[in-house]
């Protein structure tokens, strides 16, 4: 793999509470790692005021940081910085056993098709296409041209079917709809959280296993995932990749803000 870009990234999450909270348990997942397509350097994760940080890996090999902050506080922040070296390869060879990805062929509660998605799928006439790569490409194009980007239309727990009925949504909904259609075709695919050059928030897309290779398809931008993308985590759907989970004691409202910056510093 030849790396052609050096992407400097910075992810910050700031949460503010209207009053003091205690016994704050959290679990955080935004830790990019090396793949065949990217190399991560200088990774630094800072989590404010947590006496001891624990680490675990889930069954999709994503790394989670978690801990408990017991003393009263009204702020919580996380900062992840580092560099990602990326190259021109748009695929990653798949070598494990088929049974390892069987799980990724099954619909989840967020991708489960209803009437609308089934019609949508039928309308694509995918059986006329030759291989899984062609199908994925066609699905991506169709979603891009028929679904509208609009923030605030859907919520975090909206399913692919709900989003499609609305006809609009955000990158998460684009990805879920794509996964749902792919799974109706029995093509293994996964939800990916990542970052993209020049964006203000984290991004999401779909990875599809085509003829032994994983490709990233970004239906929000109608693009194949290339050297402008940094991959962070993957799962069956967005709920497997939720960046932060938390609960605490205290009567307080929470305001949370996420900022992502990715800058190309290659010479």
């Amino acid at each position: 793999m030849i790396f052609i870009r050096n992407l400097k990234f910075c992810y910050t999450l700031n949460a503010e509470y209207s009053g003091d909270i205690t016994h704050h348990n959290f679990s955080f997942m935004f830790s990019p790692h090396d793949t065949n397509r990217q190399r991560i350097e200088n990774l630094n994760i800072e989590i404010a005021d947590c006496p001891k940080l624990n680490i675990t890996r889930d069954n999709f090999k994503n790394k989670r940081y978690y801990g408990l902050i017991d003393k009263p506080h009204n702020k919580f922040s996380i900062k992840v910085t580092g560099n990602a070296l990326t190259g021109l390869d748009i695929y990653e060879e798949y070598t494990s056993e088929p049974v390892e990805y069987s799980l990724l062929k099954v619909q989840t509660s967020l991708t489960l098709p209803g009437l609308k998605l089934r019609e949508y799928h039928n309308g694509m006439e995918l059986d006329k296409l030759e291989n899984d790569y062609e199908k994925a490409l066609h699905i991506m194009h169709t979603i891009y041209y028929t679904f509208k980007y609009a923030s605030g239309a859907t919520v975090v727990h909206s399913s692919a079917e709900e989003a499609l009925r609305l006809g609009m949504g955000v990158c998460q909904d684009y990805a879920h709809i794509m996964l749902s259609v792919l799974r109706m075709e029995n093509i293994p695919c996964r939800y990916v959280v990542g970052m993209m050059l020049g964006e203000g928030a984290s991004h999401a897309w779909a990875e599809v296993l085509c003829n032994g290779y994983w490709y990233g398809f970004d239906p929000t931008n109608n693009k194949l995932v290339n050297d402008e993308y940094i991959r962070v985590s993957a799962g069956r759907d967005s709920s497997d990749c939720s960046v932060i989970r938390g609960n605490f004691y205290g009567l307080a409202n929470q305001r949370q803000k996420e900022i992502v910056s990715v800058e190309d510093i290659s010479n």
Binding site: H23, S27, N54, D58, L68, V99, S102, V106, R245
Partner: protein
């Protein structure tokens, strides 16, 4: 036995005093109902029980093998014995449990196997319950009260003493305990089985807790007592379902779970009974494959029979189901507690057509079974007359180093003469179950 019948009212009164109740949610309202006790016991003779025991041990051992395989090497899927779709689309298959090995490799410590006896005297397994099977406390306390009210009955008949359940349960907890106290984790007093949680805690010496007094710190789990002292917990007999167990791994909205408990378990610092993820093995769709599993893992024939079951997923079975629709009972694999059960003959013409459409669209969601001709048990009705009712038996099988069957069980009956559904959550009653020692 007349002694027992004579004391039936007193025993029911005492049961209500001791709080032997069953909480039921209906139309969004919580109601506590007594769990009516019927004094006429189910009697199983020694030979019959020995055979049941062998079959139950075989079945639970294999279900444990299956769970270890599914969350481990997945050989049974690779060998094509069970279609992968059945495993991964089962609601109870929990990806976070993939590759996680419980203490001493045991997944189902406490298993509740539901059986019915047919008119041909054969026993059929209706359902395996490997998540949080409840019900052992009811025959335990009923037996205790009966022994008090009619001691002569228990002297005259050769009935195996069933008061050892708590000892068996404690042995299981101790066996997997990673160092520390045993606790029973209950969702609290509004749970349907809260009586049971408190009763089992009292009888096993485990501490009864709700999530509020447990904390998980740096992958170790502690109980905080009244004085604020922390005590290390080595085993959690949890009576809350997987999805609510840990909001950091499963349902984030859960208020009754313990944050990071799953990580402590994953790292081997605490035992969870039963292991999370067991739902994949007691899925109604997987049930069909249990006899095949027994053949696959043990090379033996299944000692206990399944009710004849069809999977509409297979074309051949779908045809059979459509041709014999009116004679079958159809079950939604995602439902439990007697819900989602449809008798083909009970549907009107329109409803039947709608249902068949649904079945064709989502074949994986349903199983169909032949209606078993139950061997009815007598109960006493309000007037004190003996009347026959449908009844099942939940056998409790405990696994530590060995797999053991409790020589008793929960016999539930339907109070409604036309109903086949005996679940306590639908208002049925229960009986004592006698196993004779010869």
């Amino acid at each position: 036995m007349d002694g027992l019948i004579k004391h039936s009212k007193t025993i029911n009164k005492l049961l209500s005093r001791y709080g032997v109740k069953f909480g039921i949610y209906k139309n969004g309202e919580f109601k506590e109902q007594l769990f009516p006790f019927d004094p006429i016991p189910r009697i199983i003779d020694y030979n019959e029980f020995s055979n049941l025991e062998k079959g139950l041990i075989q079945r639970v051992q294999v279900l444990n093998c299956f769970l270890a395989d599914v969350y481990g090497k997945k050989q049974i899927i690779k060998d094509g014995v069970i279609p992968e779709e059945f495993i991964y689309s089962a609601k109870g298959f929990l990806p976070p449990c993939d590759g996680v090995f419980p203490q001493k490799g045991i997944y189902s410590h406490i298993s509740g196997i539901d059986l019915v006896q047919a008119k041909d005297n054969n026993w059929y397994v209706l359902e395996d319950n490997l998540r949080v099977p409840s019900g052992a406390s009811y025959p335990m306390i009923a037996r205790e009260l009966q022994r008090r009210s009619a001691p002569e009955t228990f002297m005259e008949h050769r009935i195996i003493d069933n008061r050892n359940y708590a000892d068996l349960l404690k042995e299981v907890m101790d066996y997997v305990n990673t160092g520390g106290i045993n606790v029973i984790l209950s969702p609290g007093r509004y749970n349907a089985a809260f009586f049971e949680h408190s009763y089992l805690a009292e009888k096993t010496g485990a501490v009864l807790t709700t999530g509020n007094d447990i904390v998980c710190e740096n992958d170790k789990v502690f109980y905080i007592d009244y004085d604020g002292n922390k005590q290390r917990i080595g085993a959690v007999y949890r009576r809350i379902s997987d999805e609510f167990l840990d909001p950091m791994t499963f349902n984030e909205e859960s208020l009754i779970g313990i944050p990071h408990l799953f990580e402590a378990y994953k790292k081997g610092n605490v035992a969870l009974l039963n292991a999370p993820g067991n739902g994949v093995a007691d899925d109604k769709g997987i049930y069909y494959f249990v006899p095949k599993m027994i053949r696959y893992y043990l090379g033996e024939d299944s000692i206990l029979q399944n009710a004849p079951t069809y999977l509409p997923y297979y074309k051949k079975d779908m045809k059979y189901v459509l041709d014999n629709f009116d004679n079958l009972v159809i079950k939604d694999v995602a439902e439990a507690g007697g819900y989602g059960v449809i008798f083909g003959s009970s549907l009107s013409k329109d409803k039947k057509a709608d249902f068949i459409d649904l079945l064709k669209n989502e074949p994986r969601r349903f199983i169909a079974q032949e209606v078993i001709d139950f061997y009815d048990l007598d109960i006493l009705d309000e007037k004190g007359e003996r009347v026959p009712r449908k009844a099942d038996l939940r056998a409790f099988v405990l696994t530590d180093g060995k797999t053991k069957v409790w020589p008793s069980g929960l016999t539930r009956f339907s109070r409604n003469p036309d109903s086949f559904i005996v679940n306590s959550s639908q208002g049925g009653g229960f009986k004592d179950t006698w196993v004779l020692s010869r």
